[in-house]
Symmetry: C2
Subunit: 206 residues, 2 copies
């Protein structure tokens, strides 16, 4: 309805598919069902349009909190991992484009780095809460563990479509497997058979 935001949305869509160089003003105008000239009246240049479009789409940042007081770490982490993967997967194409063009257009990177940064630090804090509760080893490196889990989620979200054979199947159970492994790596006692979030009766010893 609103012309300006129609153009911005179209710019995000086209950029996600074709990258900066492939996002011609003609393509964006067509996608927005708007005349090409209108784009320049609103934004002045393609550069300015795409920058504003991408910065604007940062608004939908990731916010799925981990509980302040852990009760069932495996279950909680599994659900959180699931949410992170879903979020990353939806933004996959756009993040791939941003990461690919970082050498030429570093100003576009905000979008791609925000979610991983926020998620990693939240995860780190959660792991420290587990430690404070005495559920873990007391010597583990929480920052390395958080990065590692985040890396797995990132890898899965980015790579599963490109090389499906590399990843644990089915995709829906992968978050549970990652969560279980990371918990075990820091000494949390996870029951043997609890390998996915579908095992709801299995609770971690507290």
């Amino acid at each position: 309805m609103d012309t300006r935001s129609a153009i911005l949305n179209a710019a995000v869509t086209v950029f996600s598919q074709h990258g900066f160089r492939g996002s011609t003003t003609r393509r964006i105008a067509d996608a927005a069902s708007v005349n090409e000239v209108t784009i320049f009246r609103y934004f002045g240049s393609k550069e300015a349009l795409i920058q504003e479009a991408i910065k604007g789409s940062e608004g939908n940042a990731f916010t799925s909190p981990l509980p302040q007081e852990p009760v069932d770490p495996l279950d909680e982490l599994t659900k959180w991992c699931s949410a992170v993967i879903t979020h990353l997967r939806a933004r996959g194409p756009m993040m791939r484009k941003c990461m690919s063009e970082i050498e030429e257009r570093p100003e576009l990177m905000g979008q791609a780095s925000e979610t991983p940064t926020r998620a990693t630090s939240e995860l780190c804090a959660y792991l420290l809460r587990l430690k404070a509760m005495g559920l873990t080893n007391d010597d583990f490196d929480e920052s390395a563990a958080a990065t590692m889990l985040m890396g797995s989620l990132f890898h899965d979200a980015m790579g599963r479509k490109l090389m499906p054979d590399l990843f644990p199947k089915p995709a829906a159970k992968a978050p549970g497997k990652y969560a279980k492994l990371i918990l075990r790596s820091i000494g949390v006692d996870v029951p043997v058979t609890a390998s996915s979030k579908s095992d709801h009766e299995q609770k971690v010893a507290e």
Copy 2:
């Protein structure tokens, strides 16, 4: 010296920096110190040149084996992780470009997927050897664990330059931290203080 391979090398370099659309034949010709026309005489089209250049660069595949008979898992894995990260980091820009253009040019993906695929399956086999030796839990999911470690290495190689704050520092010690965590996640008994490959005296119990 050889004109043909000079052009191919230049094509890889330029593509790694600018992607497909940014790799103009003029840029490639300049980088190869060759006349633009020569490119078309050899390869017919830009499309054909870049495809051959990228396929050709798959030659330098990753081959750093994990030992057939594990002796010191933490040390062996740490060195292997280090080698994988180094390899991926060197190919980072090119892999980012390939992954970014997969929707438009799926035929360029071979390069980006070969190393992770090979490395993951080698890692998986190694973890099974540890299991066969009775060093691990007997219920762990080796495929998930291999993917997870691979994801961490991939993530580190791809992302550390873009968002340095996200990763364990110093970079040289990260492979050891990942290796230690993954070993612990599958039940291998890793000494408390062995957190990097620099701790050579510390050996894993056999």
